[in-house]
Symmetry: C3
Subunit: 186 residues, 3 copies
């Protein structure tokens, strides 16, 4: 089997149910999710070397679910069965709540970094936000499966909460942005 088909050399490629330019907003959107997924791959490797057992199965689940997101975005045929469900978003929210509860109170922005794992999760966070921008841009032009956008929106908050929890668990203090106003309120 050859994975290279030379079919993409002219700049077009296949989606599920059609054919598009590679710089199409749709391809850009699920390509960005593939980027996020590869950064999570790195976080997962670091996680496996740590003792933070709670995180690893979550990262694996998220990697599977980002494929779900990607395949929903790659689908342009009518009547397709789509994969992203509200329960997946609720699961992310429950994980966020659990991490937030176990982390110190937060008032100001914090600098990305601290432990190796938290630094890697901050990269996942910002890459996820870039993917979110791409999906929002796509949504202005073409219909998308809305739960995908919600999932990706919540996912960057998940990475933020997880990074804070990881640093706290490893006894690494997050450094506050020194000119931050009090930005986190409820």
């Amino acid at each position: 089997m050859k994975i290279y088909t030379r079919g993409g050399d002219q700049g077009k490629t296949s989606v599920i149910g059609g054919r598009r330019f590679k710089h199409d907003l749709r391809i850009h959107a699920y390509g960005a999710l593939d980027e996020v997924n590869s950064f999570i791959g790195q976080a997962r490797v670091i996680c496996e070397r740590s003792e933070l057992d709670v995180l690893k199965p979550q990262l694996l689940t998220i990697q599977h679910e980002l494929f779900d997101c990607g395949s929903d975005l790659a689908t342009v045929k009518e009547d397709a069965v789509l994969k992203v469900q509200p329960a997946m978003i609720e699961q992310l929210e429950a994980w966020i709540d659990a991490y937030t509860e176990k982390s110190p109170q937060l008032e100001r922005f914090i600098l990305p970094g601290g432990s190796e794992l938290a630094a890697s999760l901050h990269v996942c966070r910002t890459e996820t936000r870039r993917a979110e921008r791409a999906i929002v841009e796509l949504k202005q032009e073409e219909p998308i499966h809305e739960p995908v956008l919600q999932y990706v929106n919540r996912l960057s908050d998940y990475f933020f909460a997880a990074a804070r929890f990881v640093n706290h668990s490893l006894n690494v203090s997050d450094v506050e942005y020194e000119r931050s106003a009090i930005v986190f309120k409820e």
Copy 2:
């Protein structure tokens, strides 16, 4: 010698044979290749710590060749001698074939990750695909040296094949995407 010239503070910069805005599609395209090259720099560091001797010289060659790609894309003057040649693409294909042959049969999508080196190669893969999208977008607007696009297209397949080979060699199983159809076919 000062590397900062302050010349770019107004947003314009030089290409080989002209002057452009920094957000020009052309600058964006070779800037994206510079990004890929920096991620390969990280993969090369990890590779040097491993025992996978076959990969390291390939990564070095690819770094040189991405500069070739970049300088071809940076060139807008007539009658320039361009650097990317079909033989470079054939070389990538030969490397892909060799890795594919030595890796387990593939039917379904796999999650990026596994070993540290494979995780890094998956990042290279997805960043290369982002660069490819930028080059295809440029090609809609202006002429490009076509072999550059073919090279970059094949390069992401190279990283995929290399990542699979690396995990296999290190006895790390790739995790299949659990809701994947059978997507890799003859």
Copy 3:
């Protein structure tokens, strides 16, 4: 406190003094700086494991200052007090000069990589250049606080100079791009 507000699920979000689409050029620009900041978080972690004491406080300062850049770009209300000042740019230039002086003479392009820390700084360099492209694009459409662009322009040169200094200090030779012309001149 819940960090997820569900307010962004329709694709709009708040800036300082207004509300915008998430794929707005302004959000894209400070989002890209947030990406850069997260990669610096990784460089800082590697730096802390090394003996290069000069770099760590600089990276911390830069992380704070990238928040300054981001909040200036996020501000759209009139009469706001902005944070980025010329002295911050002069400081970057002084650091660049000091690193350049302590590094070997440079004539040709070098491949990103070498030591783990330098490889990470090259990633910071290329991501900073992507952010610069986004800011230049924004500047074509809307007014920006000009020192932000100058800061970000100089920042990528800082990462280049720092990466060279780091490899030199660690006795790792930078590999020259083998088909490079003499590109660095007075």
